[in-house]
Symmetry: C2
Subunit: 198 residues, 2 copies
């Protein structure tokens, strides 16, 4: 299955074809692919090159980290995310190290790192579904995240299940057309809310 | 000039070659390229598909928006960023529309959208330098950003100046090798701070 974006302007195919499935196959993620995903994240830009992103990774069948991450997800996510062979917590370090000055770009920069990871995943035929529905306090305690950092997101990573065999509710979501606001609603000039004229 | 990342694992060339120059050529950005950059941003994923990102764009030579954005930058950025033909403010809507519920993924999701924009820019031979050094309050007033949103970042967009003619301080920065933390310092398993074993 592909869900290529219906773009108004031509963009790179990797960006146009990425989407976030609910139904994952149980096929494991190759270790070289997994390393490449985080290597891609590594080379994202960040404010003062602080690289405030941290990831906690659980691979199904390797110890209990996968289950421990799954247990930290909000209940609606737990239902479908457990099938993905890799689960990840996205953690943000809130201050510059070692100065302790607050890093107001930290959450934004986790997004930049994950943006890179998504591109690498798409190129390698992998899919990622991000979640904000995480019990951040539970995850912090469970994985010993220090007070200078916080858990913000989770990700399910694997191969999209194209068999059509999954639960109907999620199969239906996965077959829904991707939609976005048109450019004039979020690209402004002169004043917030006034569409750019280029 | 290229500054290809010295990666430990092979990643997609577009991600490996992206970098943030200080020295921009005055060559304008083609309007089709500019549209494609924001189209790429448009198709990023976001929490509940809220798309909380907004952009205010100033193009040099088209009205005074470019100058008005430049005036909102922190003074150290104003020195070099003015040469870039396109300046952008990155704005985040803090609540879900219309419910008003806080969107805790909003800043992160601006990062995801900009991550897409960076890929499209790199593919098209354009460069982007992001800044957190923005007078957010001044920008909010100047561009009429509502209280439900805040200005977080700025971006300079254009062609990297490869002539070697720029100010020595910035030419030196642009020639510096890109560095990052190794994977074991930010990819964990079992516990925060314990390197993943894959």
């Amino acid at each position: 299955m592909t869900k290529t974006a219906d773009t108004d302007h031509k963009i790179h195919n990797t960006l146009a074809t990425r989407w976030s499935p609910y139904l994952f196959a149980e096929t494991p993620v190759d270790v070289n692919d997994l390393q490449a995903l985080f290597e891609a994240a590594r080379w994202a830009p960040s404010s003062y090159n602080e690289q405030p992103w941290r990831f906690i990774v659980g691979v199904a069948g390797q110890g209990d980290d996968h289950q421990r991450i799954l247990d930290c997800l909000a209940e609606p996510n737990r239902v479908w995310a457990g099938r993905a062979p890799v689960l990840v917590l996205g953690v943000v370090v809130d201050q510059f190290v070692p100065s302790g000055t607050p890093n107001k770009a930290a959450e934004h920069d986790l997004g930049l790192a994950v943006g890179n990871l998504l591109v690498e995943a798409t190129v390698r035929g992998l899919s990622v579904h991000q979640m904000i529905g995480v019990d951040a306090d539970a995850a912090k305690t469970e994985f010993g995240v220090p007070d200078s950092a916080h858990v913000l997101t989770a990700m399910a990573i694997g191969h999209a299940d194209k068999s059509g065999a999954g639960e109907a509710k999620y199969a239906e979501r996965d077959n829904t057309t991707r939609t976005r606001k048109p450019l004039p609603e979020f690209v402004f000039g002169t004043r917030f809310g006034t569409s750019a004229r280029f």
